[in-house]
């Protein structure tokens, strides 16, 4: 152990107070604290002035919200916060569907941009450049205009075999609804059916894992995914023979100028989801392309050398590695989908932002309402981040 020489410090008695380290650090921090205190005191004083509080949210709403799905809230007896939650549910639906579709579009277009087929690659490039370089608001408004003006009015509805209807009131498609099973069993029967489905699914996953393990040990291709799907199909068939199907398909019908039964995709929802999907899909396509191109060329050559087919090369070698790079960037895009969903304001979609502005118009309390809006978007964003972080941890579990 060598003795460190003591630092040569100036004599504090001769240094002016203002140049002394202790005085300076306390002074600068003190000024910071003082400024913060001023701002806080000012905010609290003006909040007090505006009768800050959230009591207004539990008063009756007095208005009705459209685009309801799986909920039926009338608004005359329900509270403002209930109506707001209906809006949150609408936003969540649009965001989830848009994220799933944008991922699909992004991966397909991103891979297509790298295709050796000239036409496919140029089409993919055109898609990316068009949707990435125009404002999302404009895209959503154009989609909505196309759906409103392009689709026939409901009196001239486009009827595809009494199965699918298309008009500017939306697209109505058949939709499964719970019903009695083979023996006319009661309601809880659906529960058994779901349990059977989960059991069959578990068996299929087990078969897949076993075969994948074998594949790794022996190097023989054992088609784990195809086997798993086969097992699942067989299990589903057996359960169908024994239990029947406690789900019936509800076909849409037209009553007057409205759709009834079935599932209705309204043009407002469709315009918002289309806009978010295409716009975000274009960005995800670029991320996918970039992540694939970032891989060393040797990966492709090695895959070719061991005789993998083009599809196998992509799914077994390229994409799993590219995924490690993609996920953080794609997470950002998913967060953007959440935030951009507020552009529903431009079409007649009652998302959480619009419902919040209706409440604000009736009750005042704009400050509180914006507070609630911000918190809601942040909670949704944090939830998306949390899921993506789990996914990220899984794909980066193996160090390479």
């Amino acid at each position: 152990m060598s003795q460190q020489p003591a630092p040569q410090l100036p004599d504090p008695a001769r240094t002016p107070l203002f140049y002394q380290r202790g005085f300076r650090s306390v002074l600068t921090q003190g000024i910071y604290v003082a400024l913060t205190a001023i701002v806080l005191a000012y905010v609290i004083a003006s909040l007090d002035l505006r009768e800050f509080g959230f009591g207004f949210l539990s008063e009756p709403a007095g208005f009705k919200v459209g685009n309801q799905w799986l909920v039926d809230v009338d608004g005359v007896t329900n509270s403002r916060i209930t109506m707001y939650l209906v809006g949150v549910w609408s936003t969540l639906r649009a965001v989830l569907v848009a994220i799933l579709l944008a991922t699909l579009v992004g991966v397909v277009v991103g891979v297509a941009r790298l295709s050796s087929n000239w036409l496919v690659a140029r089409m993919a490039m055109l898609f990316v450049e068009v949707f990435r370089n125009t404002p999302l608001l404009v895209q959503i408004v154009i989609w909505y205009a196309i759906l409103l003006v392009g689709a026939p009015v409901i009196q001239n509805v486009l009827n595809v075999g009494d199965f699918l209807f298309l008009s500017n009131r939306g697209i109505a498609i058949p939709w499964p609804v719970p019903s009695d099973g083979l023996w006319g069993a009661p309601d809880w029967f659906v529960g058994i059916w779901v349990l059977a489905l989960i059991a069959v699914g578990a068996v299929a996953m087990r078969v897949r894992a076993k075969r994948q393990e074998h594949e790794r040990e022996t190097g023989r291709i054992l088609f784990a995914n195809r086997w798993a799907m086969g097992v699942f199909a067989a299990g589903a068939l057996i359960s169908f023979l024994i239990l029947g199907v406690p789900v019936s398909i509800d076909r849409p019908v037209i009553e007057g100028t409205s759709y009834a039964e079935g599932m209705l995709v309204q043009p407002e929802f469709a315009a918002l989801v289309l806009g978010l999907t295409m716009y975000t899909g274009a960005f995800i396509a670029e991320i996918v392309r970039g992540s694939i191109q970032a891989l060393p060329k040797g990966q492709t050559e090695a895959a070719n050398a061991i005789g993998l087919t083009g599809y196998q090369r992509l799914t077994l070698v390229i994409l799993p590695q590219a995924l490690r790079q993609m996920i953080p960037s794609v997470t950002n895009q998913f967060l953007n989908v959440n935030k951009n969903s507020s552009l529903a304001y431009a079409v007649l979609f009652d998302d959480l932002f619009r419902v919040a502005t209706i409440v604000q118009n009736k009750a005042g309390h704009a400050l509180e309402m914006f507070f609630v809006i911000i918190i809601t978007y942040m909670v949704i964003s944090f939830a998306i981040s949390a899921v993506m972080n789990v996914l990220n941890a899984r794909v980066t579990a193996h160090r390479i």
Partner: protein, 373 residues
């Protein structure tokens, strides 16, 4: 070694802490003073008449998206029924006061504009309601336009009344009294409906495209918007009204000086119509008033007598005279802006289905000027 450093710097640390403490206490005292000032002006002990005269500009919040009432032309000029009242108030305030027309088209932020002082008066097809008066920090002056919530339908829809609208899709402007009236009315009827809410223009586009069966808004709004469409005859405005919508200028609470000026300018223009004073003859009427009532309204002496100011010293007694000279009387404003889009059937012989609510009382209407004396 660290301990020795601390010892060496100990005294200056304490000095710094004391300086900081003094700074924080000073800051808090400062905030306490300024926030109580703030409280005074926000609670409205302000005087808008004086403030407008001092700044030399009247900031009037109007709509820019509704034809005939407040509409921005492609060349950028904003005109309409509501805008005329802005001009009347500007003229009443006297020379040297300019007019700034602030865009208050967004229904959901209009009261914030008023409360935050972005505008001095809100003249934007705004309905007087008890809850707005009590909860939104706004005071209303005399109603400028009486209307009600009406319905437009497609001519071939077979809908003749709200009782035919069960299960229909209804386009409704978001953030207005309209939504609540609609929900209340259909609850009373025991009927269900599907709302499609959005901005003025968006709901109009959806209705015209056939996305919804019915479009509901103030009847005057429907008439003014459908009237300018190329295919106006494809749509029918039902006679049924489900609410009273008295549209009035709004001012900030607790500023009665300002509210009085706005209120009596509106009454003055209505009185001018009753008395036959027009933009064309106001100068000669002022020079030679036919009776004491006209003399008092215009703030001039009758046959050499004293001028009665009626207490309007802050804007001087001739403020109504200036307003009429600028925009004409109530009837002229109506004819020049709304005109035949929402005809005023000012006659006791008018049919029951014709709208005469904005007519002078002598002709069956309820636009009734309070006495100037």
């Amino acid at each position: 070694m660290h301990r020795s450093l601390l010892r060496k710097y100990g005294s200056s640390w304490r000095t710094g802490a004391i300086v900081t403490l003094v700074a924080i206490l000073g800051a808090l005292a400062l905030v306490a003073c300024t926030s109580s000032d703030e409280q005074d002006s926000a609670a409205g002990r302000g005087n808008t008449v004086q403030a407008v005269k001092d700044s030399g500009v009247l900031k009037c919040g109007v709509k820019q998206t509704q034809p005939l009432f407040g509409f921005r032309e492609p060349d950028g000029t904003v005109s309409g029924f509501d805008v005329e009242f802005c001009k009347a108030i500007q003229a009443a305030l006297g020379d040297g006061v300019g007019l700034e027309l602030v865009d208050a088209s967004d229904a959901s932020t209009r009261f914030e504009l008023l409360n935050d002082g972005e505008i001095d008066v809100l003249i934007r097809t705004t309905t007087i309601t008890a809850s707005r008066d009590r909860e939104l920090g706004v005071d209303f002056a005399q109603t400028t336009f009486y209307t009600g919530q009406g319905f437009a339908v497609h001519a071939d829809s077979g809908i003749n009344a709200t009782s035919d609208m069960g299960g229909r899709t209804i386009c409704v402007q978001s953030g207005t009294t309209t939504e609540q009236n609609l929900a209340d009315h259909f609850t009373d009827l025991g009927l269900d409906f599907t709302p499609l809410g959005g901005g003025d223009q968006e709901t109009q586009d959806a209705f015209v495209a056939g996305r919804c069966d019915v479009w509901t808004a103030d009847q005057s709004n429907l008439a003014s918007r459908i009237g300018v469409l190329d295919n106006a005859s494809d749509f029918v405005i039902l006679g049924e009204l489900i609410s009273k919508e008295p549209l009035a200028p709004g001012v900030r609470d607790y500023d009665s000086e300002w509210k009085d000026v706005v209120n009596w300018v509106v009454h003055g223009l209505i009185a001018a119509e009753e008395l036959g004073i027009t933009r064309a003859n106001v100068a000669s009427m002022a020079a030679n008033p036919p009776n004491t009532t006209v003399a008092r309204l215009l703030g001039v002496s009758f046959e050499g007598g004293e001028v009665s100011t009626l207490g309007f010293d802050s804007v001087n007694a001739q403020f109504i005279q200036r307003a009429i000279a600028a925009v004409g009387n109530y009837g002229e404003i109506y004819a020049n802006t709304v005109g035949d889009a929402v005809p005023r059937a000012c006659s006791l012989n008018a049919l029951a289905s014709e709208d005469k609510s904005n007519c002078p009382p002598g002709t069956g209407g309820i636009q009734y000027a309070l006495p100037y004396r």
